[in-house]
Amino acid sequence: MRFYEYESKKILAKYGIPFPKGGVAKTAEEAKNLAADLGGKVVVKAMVLTSSLTDRGTVREANGPDEAAKATEELLALKVGALTPVSVLVEEQVEVERELALQVTYDGVAKLPVMIASDVPRKNLDDVADDTPDRVKRRHFSTLHPMRAQTFRCKELVRSLGLGGSDLNRMTQVVSKLADAMLEYDLTVAEINALGQTKDGKFIALDVNMDMEEEGRFRQGALLEEFGIPMTETRGVRGEPTPMEREAQAIDADDPRGLISPFVEFDGNMGLVIGAGGGSLTIFDAVTRHGGKPANYAAIGGNPSVKKAQRLAKLVLSKEGVDKIAVMSNVVSNTRADLVARGVIKGVLELGLEPKEVITIFRCPGAWEADAFKILEKYGVDYCDRSVSLSEAAKRAVAKVQG
């Protein structure tokens, strides 16, 4: 669950990581008063549960209370995807000599938490790593030892950015405290997207994102109570589920066999029925890497019934602009490929469509795949086994969608 920036900064405050003075305003008048209290020159940030705020035009600089009020009016009327800002964060403008980026998160491959730093601030660190890998530095650390016993790792990270002397010591403290916060509050991401360094050498957190593990909310009741967040509040990045996402939830709830979760709607034109223990994320990435534009993310697994696969296929194809789907998974031992094949073909046929035209590829290697292949052959659907990589299968599917 994602925190608003002002909440994230309250967590920073618990660790003594400095950030600009400021407050939250729900109206232009409140923002004006706050700006006056802060000396006039302020930054106004729309509070909306999404990342990359700067890129979305949700941050404004104001040179006085009146400008702050105007900026607030504009920001509160913004639409950020499906979301509307609930308030604005008004903060003093801080002059900095330079900005860095710092993130603590989990490395799913190494199965360890990792500290990441870069001298490219205010950008998605994954994008920075893709474009300029030498400008992103990483150090793993252990959850078994307190950070005070691993300060050397923080220091190594900061040193790898080229910092030395008092800069090295000061930033090491920030890294160490941010990692402490991440571990104590079950955060999946603790990010200071813009860590400014002022003329006198001090570091200050300008732009902060934090995301807490969904399951962590029960352990973090005290924090949620402090922030006034009810246990029932949905804090998905995307806000309330779309009608299509609600329908997917209903399909999942109607039948205990198998699982469709999570289902997330996107703006693309390529329907996805994908699954297998983490394979869905890999497949989604492969599709986008090959230029595909997913219409949805739908992780299906746990041996769904024919009816569940059928209803999911129909749901995905019901989205406007989607006339093709890819059915892919990693190697599956606990999901019957033949039942999935039956379901998606049945769903396609019930819509009056041709399976061989609509299903771009079927790649679900594993249990009962021989029967699945017979079904797919009968309906002329393109399929492949595990000898074709997920990436190659995604490439073939994307090529068909793009015509």
């Binding site: 019934s305 009816k307 019957r336 039956r342 049945k346 046929l349 029967d371 017979k374 009968k378």
Partner: protein
């Protein structure tokens, strides 16, 4: 309407073996329902394509039930 599986029943063989109740009991996807009397079964069409090919019905009544994969015909 089932598209992938067909269930062929021989009602007299099921009745003779007294297998009706057993068929209803063993099918994991509820393809069989009680028939007109306690010696017969009916088929729930909506569930036929859910058949997992577990063969428990054919074991319960080897002479009375045959599961046909329509995609192999």
């Amino acid at each position: 309407m089932a598209m992938f599986i067909r269930i062929d029943l021989k009602e007299d063989a099921i009745a003779e073996a007294g297998a009706a109740a057993k068929l209803i009991e063993v099918c994991p996807v509820k393809i069989f329902a009680a028939g007109a009397d306690d010696k017969s079964v009916s088929i729930i069409d909506d569930n036929v394509d859910e058949c997992t090919l577990c063969d428990l019905c054919m074991e319960a009544s080897p002479k009375g039930v045959k599961v046909v994969k329509l995609y192999e015909e």
